[in-house]
């Protein structure tokens, strides 16, 4: 077992590695990242993840739900650190995995991967507390400066594969999914299905089957494949939902950024021109990509965050059309339902920190984009706006094709049953 594999094993157990090893790891990571462009090209299939924020045990839950590295190809859209109590363990594990499997995991920068923000939101203090000095914080910040600003997912399918990619499940179904186009299953932390919905392809209404139920024993998901042929994940696999955006290019790529768009950026190529190897500036294109939010407005608006901008559906539509994108995937905003598509599925927010700050009570999600093996399949899909429809999908309103999307929704790790720390994190309230 190499030192790196040992470090991975140690970090997976939520145990820190020595400072000298962190330094070496960060050096290797920088060497790798410096070779990456500002916009990394990633081939589907890939699983896209949003904010982690130091919630290490929920990151483990994410891997349980989405499959392990390197079996699953992952793309993390930043905000690995701050707020949670295990930013170091979370970030160092992801970094180890990046160095160990550089082609199976992509890390892009979030607005919290910044010296200024980490001194306010906890990562700096965590480094001091756990290592006794700011050295490790400095090493990590140097890595932050080299993280890519975005990623472009190519070759994503317009149809969903029968199962999520890289799920090493012996019961995996080979049943094609063409009988249904969007499915959501929500599992609680014990692996029990607490909610399931299924919506058939347009024009096949007889396939409708929607139910909400409790299934026991937990994790026996394969038993439901008769009704829900999409789901045949491995034991313990979390919830899944599948959707597809309905406007934008049907064959286009998926742009992943932490925050959103910038008024200074009208093409993906302009992102490539940024000199990214620096602290996140307070303004400008690089800042906007990490800080902006979509909003129900026309054009651009001022952001209440004090950095970045708000941008409306017209901006997204133009940008996607101009850049032949089917979707912009971004993170950055807490979404109680784990994910939220906006602007007819032209953009999605993916949030991967369940019960954020151990207080917010939200679920989390990851987005799986399948590989295009369908020769440009023509299944018509509508967006899977979980919030609006509460998971029970309505009929397709738009009728334009775009990559199939499978959202897996998951809850916070059940700390008391999973060898979690004895001291439960205590959330802050104003009492």
């Amino acid at each position: 077992m190499s030192d790196l594999d040992r470090a991975i094993a140690q970090l997976r157990a939520c145990r820190l590695i020595p400072e000298t090893q962190v330094r070496e790891l960060c050096y290797k990571a920088r060497e790798l990242l410096i070779e990456e462009g500002n916009v990394v090209s990633v081939d589907a299939p890939v699983t896209i993840c949003g904010d982690i924020h130091g919630q290490f045990h929920d990151l483990m839950e994410l891997f349980r739900v989405g499959g392990d590295v390197p079996d699953t190809n992952y793309l993390f859209m930043g905000d690995f650190v701050d707020r949670g109590f295990y930013s170091l363990e979370s970030f160092l594990l992801l970094l180890c995995l990046k160095v160990r499997y550089p082609d199976r995991i992509t890390l892009i920068r979030g607005n919290h991967e910044s010296r200024q923000i980490t001194t306010v939101y906890g990562f700096y203090d965590e480094c001091i507390r756990k290592y006794g000095s700011a050295n490790v914080w400095r090493h990590c910040c140097e890595v932050f400066d080299y993280l890519a600003l975005g990623a472009l997912v190519l070759g994503a399918s317009s149809e969903l594969e029968p199962t999520g990619p890289a799920l090493n499940d012996t019961t995996q179904s080979t049943m094609p999914i063409d009988s249904g186009e969007l499915e959501t299953e929500v599992l609680n932390s014990k692996g029990e299905v607490t909610y399931s919905s299924y919506r058939p392809r347009q024009g096949v209404p007889s396939d409708v089957s929607t139910d909400a139920r409790n299934i026991s024993p937990p994790r026996d998901i394969s038993s439901t494949t008769g009704q829900t042929p999409l789901r045949s994940g491995p034991p313990g696999t979390g919830a899944s939902g599948e959707g597809a955006g309905s406007y934008s290019s049907r064959t286009g790529a998926v742009l992943c950024v932490h925050g959103g768009l910038s008024p200074l950026i009208d093409t993906v190529d302009k992102i490539r021109l940024i000199d990214r190897k620096q602290e996140v500036p307070h303004e400008g294109a690089m800042c906007d990509l990490l800080w902006s939010d979509p909003d129900e407005i026309d054009g651009w608006g001022l952001s209440p965050r004090g950095a970045g901008f708000l941008f409306g559906g017209d901006i997204v539509k133009q940008f996607n059309y101009r850049n032949d994108l089917s979707l912009i995937a971004r993170a950055h905003q807490l979404v109680m339902e784990g994910y939220k598509e906006m602007f007819d599925g032209g953009i999605v927010t993916v949030w991967s920190a369940p019960n954020y700050c151990y207080r917010c009570g939200n679920v989390a999600s990851i987005l799986e984009l399948g590989e295009d093996t369908s020769n440009g399949g023509t299944v018509t899909r509508s967006n899977g706006d979980y919030e609006r429809s509460n998971g029970i999908m309505t009929t397709d309103k738009f009728g334009v094709r775009s990559p199939g999307r499978r959202y897996r929704v998951f809850e916070a790790a059940a700390q008391d049953t999973r060898g979690m720390p004895a001291k439960k994190p205590v959330a802050d309230y104003f009492l």
Binding site: A13, G122, R305, L334, Y358, R359, C360, G361, V426, L431
Partner: protein, 384 residues
């Protein structure tokens, strides 16, 4: 190499046990364990640490904030916590100011329930034009003793209260009560304050004796800054009834006549909305710490808070607003810009979520005077 069990829990080490001031509960409740009592003591300190954080960063001005925080316990809070501390404090300040500025020649009275480490009295008496005011604080003896001790050892606080010579203040033998002409600290379990029934004159007399220096003719403002919420609904109702009927009413226990008693207002600051995902998590997180917000489900919404005030005799008017609304609507654009500029607040969604789960509610009855006229113009949230 650290093992998992050695990894420090940053939360408990650095951030204490949350923000709970946890006033209004304490050792008197036999159902609370000793360890819960200690948690209560620890959390009392925490609110003062939050206040000091907000003061140190420029959110609030309070020259007394650092006197109530033991040295070495200072800690910078997260931006959303600082903003919440700011909104809560300035909102109550605004209501207090509007109360004091009406008929300034009339002597007024404030009674702060479960006052803990609060510095509002010091700020008011040290202001450039000190109001014509008597200020009472009620808390458990263990809390009041600590405050009395602090005042005895802090010249800055003595000056604020106008204590120049030993005879300017009377301190109880137990060291848990302090009386000056204008400022009174009462060691008292709030649950001993009950509405006197019409026939129990003895109980009535007994209960009044607890609150030395209270003048039942002064227009009076009651403040419960996250205090009554820890009592059971009936206990909380009894406390309010004690003031509105027994002490400041006609004194015969007739609720109908309470509206004709002394001008009386009540400000409540409490969590609300326990039934959504955030609220459920809040209830269960606090329960895991042994903290039970007993009236939360009873007064779960702004509408329920208004109804409560109406039913408890504050017939002059009742209004409520959540902290998110107060930040958006009470704080001027200029002030918002100033506060937003103090720290970058990244977590907008979390801020809204958090701020929508706390409210300020206020109600009053005028009597014959106009002490609460200033409250008529304060914008409440339209209840849906």
């Amino acid at each position: 190499m650290m093992s998992a069990s050695q990894i420090p829990n940053l939360n408990t080490l650095r951030r204490g046990g949350g923000r709970a001031r946890f006033r209004g509960r304490g050792g008197a409740d036999g159902s609370l364990s000793k360890s819960n009592d200690r948690a209560v003591q620890g959390t009392d300190n925490d609110a003062s640490v939050s206040r000091l954080s907000a003061v140190a960063l420029g959110y609030l001005q309070d020259p007394f904030a650092d006197t109530v925080v033991a040295s070495g316990l200072e800690s910078r809070r997260l931006p959303i916590i600082n903003r919440g501390t700011y909104v809560r404090t300035t909102a109550i300040d605004h209501l207090v100011t509007q109360f004091l500025s009406q008929e300034p020649q009339t002597k007024k009275q404030i009674i702060s329930l479960g006052a803990g480490t609060d510095t509002r009295a010091f700020r008011l008496f040290a202001s450039q034009s000190p109001p014509n005011l008597v200020y009472h604080e009620i808390d458990f003896a263990v809390n009041t003793a600590a405050k009395v001790k602090l005042i005895r050892s802090t010249p800055l606080l003595q000056r604020a209260l106008g204590i120049e010579r030993p005879e300017d203040a009377t301190i109880s033998d137990a060291g848990d009560a302090l009386y000056t002409g204008v400022y009174h600290i009462h060691p008292l379990d709030l649950r001993s304050l009950k509405r006197a029934s019409a026939t129990s004159d003895a109980a009535h007399a007994d209960s009044r004796v607890h609150l030395r220096g209270v003048d039942t003719t002064f227009p009076t403002l009651l403040i419960s800054e996250c205090c009554l919420v820890y009592l059971s609904p009936s206990e909380a109702g009894e406390v309010v009834g004690y003031f509105s009927e027994t002490l400041f009413g006609a004194g015969d226990g007739d609720a109908k006549r309470s509206s004709t008693g002394t001008p009386l207002g009540l400000i409540l600051y409490e969590p609300i909305r326990p039934d959504d995902a955030f609220g459920r998590t809040m209830v269960s997180n606090l329960a895991a710490r042994g903290i039970h917000l007993q009236t939360l489900h009873q007064y779960a919404s702004l509408a329920a808070q208004q109804k409560r005030l109406r039913e408890q005799g504050f017939s002059g008017g009742q209004a409520a607003a959540d902290v998110d609304f107060i930040w958006e609507r009470w704080v001027s654009d200029e002030e918002k810009e100033r506060v937003s500029g103090l720290e970058m607040l990244d977590e907008m969604e979390e801020w809204k979520l958090l701020a929508q789960h706390y409210c300020v509610a206020w109600g009053w009855r005028e009597g014959s005077a106009g002490a609460f006229t200033g409250w008529r113009g304060i914008q409440g949230q339209i209840v849906d």
